[in-house]
């Protein structure tokens, strides 16, 4: 379970351009939940991700991950419990290594390697139907953007993090690959039981895949609700208008 209590982050404190990025944000995510974060630019979404990965520390408030109070952790140690996939496919994979070597690295958790991770990675590769399981000796730099991003998702998932963060991970992909990567995202959530927090601007993705939606504006949670998928186009239009 992830708990953020009254988180406050101020950039350029006591300067003329002081900006409150998060202003008392509260958010609780249960184990196995799939949360979609939406909100306009500058709302505090990126700052929230930076807090969750330990990149920045809040001025005030508590960050509790699985009952553990996170205070000034070394980012690489926190990453043993928190996985992240970025918008750019190249940030999540190792271009000079083969697909197989990437899976070996992905199945490393801290100082330990566990072979189950590699097995799970192969299973996920097969489920993608991209033919990657037959190209295990291929260097990752030879793959397309969509293939790289799918692999980045798998690498992040097979470390079995307590929380998997997706930072607009489909933004750089074409529609066909968006579909495949989103199906993989759901699979990781439902079949592997991983807790996922996804940040997106893409309302089509929200409509099609979101379960719980959290809206952030001006550094606080303005709406938090379970999304019931409408059955008709009228319903879709109404939801889109309300979002």
């Amino acid at each position: 379970m992830v708990e953020l209590k009254n988180i406050r982050v101020v950039y350029n404190k006591n300067q003329t351009n002081e900006k409150k990025a998060l202003d008392g944000l509260n958010l609780t995510i249960k184990k196995g939940e799939y949360v979609t974060i939406i909100g306009p630019n500058g709302a505090g979404k990126t700052t929230l991700l930076k807090i969750l990965t330990g990149e920045i520390h809040p001025e005030e408030g508590d960050y509790v991950l699985n009952g553990r109070d996170i205070k000034h952790p070394k980012p690489y140690k926190l990453f043993r419990n928190v996985g992240i996939v970025y918008q750019e496919p190249d940030r999540g994979v190792f271009p000079d290594l083969t697909i197989e070597e990437n899976l070996i690295l992905g199945s490393k958790k801290g100082n330990r390697f566990f072979s189950f991770g590699k097995y799970q990675g192969l299973e996920l590769l097969k489920s993608l139907n991209m033919g990657l399981e037959d190209r295990l000796k291929t260097k990752v730099k030879e793959l397309s953007g969509g293939q790289k991003q799918a692999l980045a998702m798998i690498l992040a998932a097979i470390t079995y993090p307590d929380l998997l963060l997706l930072d607009e991970h489909t933004a750089a992909l074409d529609p066909k690959n968006v579909e495949k990567v989103m199906e993989l995202t759901l699979k990781i959530n439902t079949e592997m039981g991983l807790t996922i927090l996804m940040v997106t601007h893409n309302m089509k993705i929200v409509e099609k895949y979101a379960k719980r939606i959290v809206e952030i504006k001006e550094g606080i949670v303005t709406r938090d609700f379970m999304y019931e998928r409408p059955q008709s186009q009228v319903g879709t239009d109404r939801i889109r208008a309300s979002l």
């Binding site: 690489y76 070597e101 690295l105 490393k108 801290g110």
Partner: protein, 329 residues
């Protein structure tokens, strides 16, 4: 021209090139420490020979101590946030003074095969010593000619019983294959992954600082090993012998990459070895025939740097594509 001698020197230089290959290509952290750690390797190993340490251990200690200074560069880079290039320049500058301390002077020669009687003749008390009031440590009458000297002699001296070509080749082969095996282990894969995507390594919960420390240790270990071997082979270590070793090693790596391309780990590891031998042959040819076009041996560093700039420039304009050469780059 002694081709075997040139190949031997090329093979010794290839160890330094392997070190530069690890820091520049495998972990992608530009490191100039080898300019100092190469000399340190030679200085330490020759100094240890004077106290009777077996030559093979002298080589290993020379490499290990050089590797330690690579670790220092990595720590300065990680903990103080200093760019790796600047951190390595600081350590390299520091090593200039340390090397003079280790050698107790600007240079040191390997222990010579002198009989105790002959040695005592050099250190015998002279009339000048009497005038200056200096006490001689030995006199011929005190010398026990049956006593064996404790100093270790170079394996590359005549009548040592070793074939220098086989010995050097063996050391290079062991270095290359042990590095290939290491880079194929899970830790080695993480090290190579760090070179390609430092942020990605951190995101998997692997300590990136450890990767830079191990990488720069290895890079400088090989530079130190090359320095040790070169000093034993050449019979001396000099404080200036490491000047430009990074640039020439980089040129060797690039030459090797032109020959092999950058495809598979095994071929990648052969790049510094073949490149260094080819570079040494080119160097010998330039020195032998270069005078006909007004070339001096001192021009070699100018030509080497120009070569690196031209190759990098050609890569930018993707000349391989123009020539329709298949490449994975």
């Amino acid at each position: 021209m002694d081709l075997i001698g040139i190949i031997e020197q090329g093979l010794i230089a290839s160890l330094a090139a392997i070190g530069v290959f690890i820091s520049f290509r495998v972990i992608d952290l530009p490191d100039l420490t080898p300019d100092g750690s190469y000399v340190l390797g030679g200085a330490v190993s020759i100094s240890l020979m004077y106290v009777g340490v077996p030559w093979i251990l002298c080589l290993v200690f020379g490499g290990l101590l050089a590797g330690f200074f690579g670790v220092l560069t990595a720590i300065i880079h990680n903990k103080l946030g200093v760019n790796s290039l600047l951190a390595s320049i600081l350590i390299m500058t520091m090593l200039y003074s340390i090397n003079i301390r280790v050698m107790n002077g600007p240079n040191i020669s390997v222990p010579k095969e002198t009989a105790p009687m002959e040695e005592a003749r050099y250190t015998e008390k002279t009339k000048l010593d009497d005038l200056l009031g200096i006490k001689s440590s030995t006199s011929i009458s005190e010398v026990d000619t049956t006593k064996q000297t404790k100093k270790t002699l170079s394996p590359f001296r005549e009548k040592s019983g070793y074939n220098s070509t086989i010995l050097i080749s063996l050391i290079v082969l062991i270095s290359v294959f042990s590095t290939i095996i290491f880079l194929r282990t899970e830790f080695g894969i993480a090290l190579r992954g760090y070179g390609g995507n430092k942020e990605g390594i951190k995101n998997l919960g692997i300590n990136p600082e450890l990767m830079s420390i191990v990488g720069l240790f290895l890079g400088n270990f090989y530079a130190g090993l090359a320095g040790s071997l070169f000093s034993m082979y050449g019979g001396f270590a000099d404080v200036n012998m490491g000047q430009g070793i990074v640039v020439t090693s980089l040129a060797a790596v690039i030459l090797g990459e032109i020959i092999f391309g950058r495809f598979h780990l095994f071929y990648n590891m052969m790049c510094p070895v073949i490149g260094a031998v080819v570079y040494q042959i080119l160097l010998a040819l330039a020195m032998r025939y270069g005078y006909t076009i007004g070339f001096q041996s001192s021009d070699m560093k100018l030509v080497t740097s120009l070569f690196i700039i031209i190759v990098i420039g050609l890569r930018r304009v993707e000349v391989r594509k123009w020539l329709n050469l298949k490449t994975s780059e």
